[in-house]
Subunit: 446 residues, 2 copies
Amino acid sequence: MARKASLSGFPEWLPNERLVELHILDTLRRTFELHGFGNIETRAVETVGQLLRKGEIDKEVYGLSRLQGEDAERPGADPHGLALHFDLTVPFARYVVENAGHLAFPFRRYQIQKVWRGERPQDGRFREFTQADIDVVGDGELPFRYDVELALVIAEALAALPIGDFKVRVNNRKLAEGFYLGLGLQDTAGVLRSIDKLDKIGPAKVAALLRDELGATEDQAAAALALAAIRTEDTSFVERVRSLGVSHPLLEQGLDELAQVVAAAAERAPGRVVADLSIARGLDYYTGTVYETVLVGHEQLGSICSGGRYESLATKGNRTFPGVGLSIGVSRLVSRLLAEGTAVATRDVPTAVLVTLADDRSWSAAQDVAGLLRGRGIAVEVAAKAEKFGKQIKYADRRGIPFVWFTAPDGSHEVKDIRSGEQVSADPASWAPPAEDLVPRVVAGS
Amino acid sequence: MARKASLSGFPEWLPNERLVELHILDTLRRTFELHGFGNIETRAVETVGQLLRKGEIDKEVYGLSRLQGEDAERPGADPHGLALHFDLTVPFARYVVENAGHLAFPFRRYQIQKVWRGERPQDGRFREFTQADIDVVGDGELPFRYDVELALVIAEALAALPIGDFKVRVNNRKLAEGFYLGLGLQDTAGVLRSIDKLDKIGPAKVAALLRDELGATEDQAAAALALAAIRTEDTSFVERVRSLGVSHPLLEQGLDELAQVVAAAAERAPGRVVADLSIARGLDYYTGTVYETVLVGHEQLGSICSGGRYESLATKGNRTFPGVGLSIGVSRLVSRLLAEGTAVATRDVPTAVLVTLADDRSWSAAQDVAGLLRGRGIAVEVAAKAEKFGKQIKYADRRGIPFVWFTAPDGSHEVKDIRSGEQVSADPASWAPPAEDLVPRVVAGS
C-alpha cells in the first residue's frame, strides 16, 4: 500500500492498484468456473443470533442500527438484530439451508465478497477485506474425493496468480486425533489447540502445556510433538508416522485420506502441496482434511488460503450438509503484492487510444473514429476540447494512454505511439494496437 | 424474484439468477472500460459526520458498533462513529479529495458496489442493493462536453443489456432555473421541488403549491407547468420553450446545453434520449444537466439510472472538483428482469462437460481429459465416484451440464449431448462444444 488508509483497517486502492486486485479476482473467477464452480453472493448482514451461534467471536462483530429509526436501540442485545458477516462460511451455510430445494447437490460454488471484523488492524489484518471462497457441499454425504479435488483446484488457482511460489500445507484431523487417541490422550481438541500454538510459543512450551493442562506424560508429549514435526512433499509421511509406533483405526483412516491428497497433488501439482502434520486450524468444525497456504519467503504473513472438510456445514431437520472448502484472503494477498511491488499494472487506465480534436466541430467525427475502434474491443477516449495538440498529447501522457489519434482536415488518419514517438497512417476500420497494449496487463514488478 | 428474501429488503439470488446479474455487471464493465473509465472501490463505511454532511438522510443510515468492543456506545451520537454508505457519490467525493495528488484529471471512474439504506422495503426498493456509477471529475473545471459524452455512454451501456427499450430523460437545471427567474419566481429550488411532485400529485395540485407556498401568480404557475409539459426527441424543445415568451441569460445557457446533449444523442443513439423538461431530480447539488431513465412499459418502477452535473462534488482548500455522473440501480433492474423472466441463463452452472468414471481407478485419467479441455477454456467437472453411468448422467442432467464424456477401457473417447442423446467419438485434445454451449449465456426469456 503506497498510502496510509484514511480509516485504519479499511484499505482502499488507487486505480492502478485496483487493476492488480481485479486481475487477481478475474483469474480466480476464471479458474473456479473452469472447474464448474458457480457464483453466488449472500447479503452482507446476518442476524446477530446466526453469527454468534458458534460463540467466541462476538468481540469481532459489527452490529448495525439505523441511526434514527425505530430500531435505534443497540442490536447487540437482540439476537434478531443485524450485524455484518465476518466470513463467507456462516452466510453460505444459511443460504444452503434456505435454498436447499433449489440447489443441485453436490453444490459447487465460489463466492467473492467483503467481510468485516472489528479487530485491531495490523499488518495483513484488516477490518474490511475481500475473501474468495470455494466449497462443495453435499446433501447427506459427500465423497472424500472432493478433498483431493479442492487441493488441486486451489493449487491451480494460486499458480495462475502473480504471487510467486506458495505451499499448500495439508493435514487431516482424523490422522491427528487418531494418533492422540492411540497415544492414550482423550482430549484430542485440547491437544490440537496446544499444537496450534507451535509456531508462536515453540515445542518446549507446547510440551509443557500438554503435560500441565492435559496431563500428558513426557513420552506422550514427545510423541505428539514428533508427529507435528513431520512434513513431506510425498506420501513418505505415512511411514514416518508408522515409525512412531502408534496405532488407532481413526489414525489409519486419516493416513489413507491424507496420502490420497498428497499423492494426487504430487502428480498433478508437483511442489505445490505438502503434508504438514503440524497444521491444526483453530476452528472446531473441521473433521478431516485441513488446508493452510503460505507464500514462500513470506511465511510470517500467515495463511493466505485456508479451509478443510466439515461433516456438518449446516443441518435442516434431519438433513445434514457436509462439505469441503477453502477461503483465499484476497486483501491480505493484494496488500502484500502492492507493498512489495511484486505485481504492477502496465498502465493506469483502460484507455488505449485518445482521439484528438483538430477543432471543436470535429467532435462528432472523432466519435465516429472512436466507435469504429471500440467496435473491435479497443478502449478509446475522445478529447473534450480542441486544445493545442501538445496539450492533448500531454493529457494522454498524464493518464498513461499509449496512443494518440489524429484526423487531418482531408479525412486521413494517423496514430502516434507517444512512448516511442512513432507516428503512422492508420485506418479506423482496421487499425489495432499491439496485443500487449490492448488492455492494461498485470506483470511482475521490477 | 422467485422466492421471498429471508430478510425483507435484502435480496439474494439463486445461482442461475446470479448469472443474469453477472451478465449485467460484466456488460456494464465492458462498456465503461471501452470508454476509458477505470474501476475503483471505496470502503463500505464512512464516518457518520461524512455521511450526514448534507443532512436530511439520517433516518436511512445504518450505524455500526462492535457488539462487545470498547466502542460499544451507539455511534449515532458520534460524528466519528462508523456507518454504511448509502450511495457511491459521497464515498467517491471523499476518495477524490484524499487521493487528488495521485489521480490524473479529468478523472474517469466506474464503481460497482453494494450500498445500504434503512428504508422500508417495497417493490424495487431494497435495504441492500448494488449500484453501478460512472463519473468524470475535473480539477477546478470540467468542459461541458462531458455532459454530452455521458449521455451517450449510458445509452450505449443500457442498450447492451437485455432490458428492452428505455428512455434517458434529460433536462437542465440552468434552463429551468433561468425560466423561473425570467418569470419572476426567485425561489427556484422551491419551484423545482414542487415540479418534482408532478408525477405523484398531478398538475392541478402542483399549481396550487406554486401559488400557495411560493406566491406564484396564476400565470406564473401556468407557465412553469407549461415548461414541464415539454418533451421532445429532438431539439424542437428549444422553439417550444421560446414560444412561452420568457427570457433570461441562464435560460439561454440551459437551452444551449440541453440542445447539445439531445442533438448528439439523436444522431448517435436515436430514440434513446429525450428532452423532458419535467425532470427535476430531488437532490440539491445538481447544477446543470440532469438525467433520469425509465424502462418503457415499466415507468412505475421509477428511474433505473439517474444523475447529473454538479459544480462541486467536493472541495479541498480552495480547489473544487466539478463533475458529471450517472448511477444505475442494478438490483432494481435485475429484480425486475428476474420477476418477469425477461432474461434467463441458458443453464445453471458454468460446467459444459462432465467427465464420467468407468471405475474408481480412472479418476486420474479423467483429470487428464479435464485438464486438456480446460486448457482450451471449456469448463469441466470430473465425477467423484464411479457410479453406474446412468447415475452419472443423471447428475449431469440435474446440474444442467449439457455434455457427458466417456473414456473406454481401450482409451478411446466419446462425448454425449444429453439433451439430444447424440453420442460421437471425440479427441480431448481438439473437441469443443458448439459456441452457444461453451458458457452459460443470458438470453431473452420465453
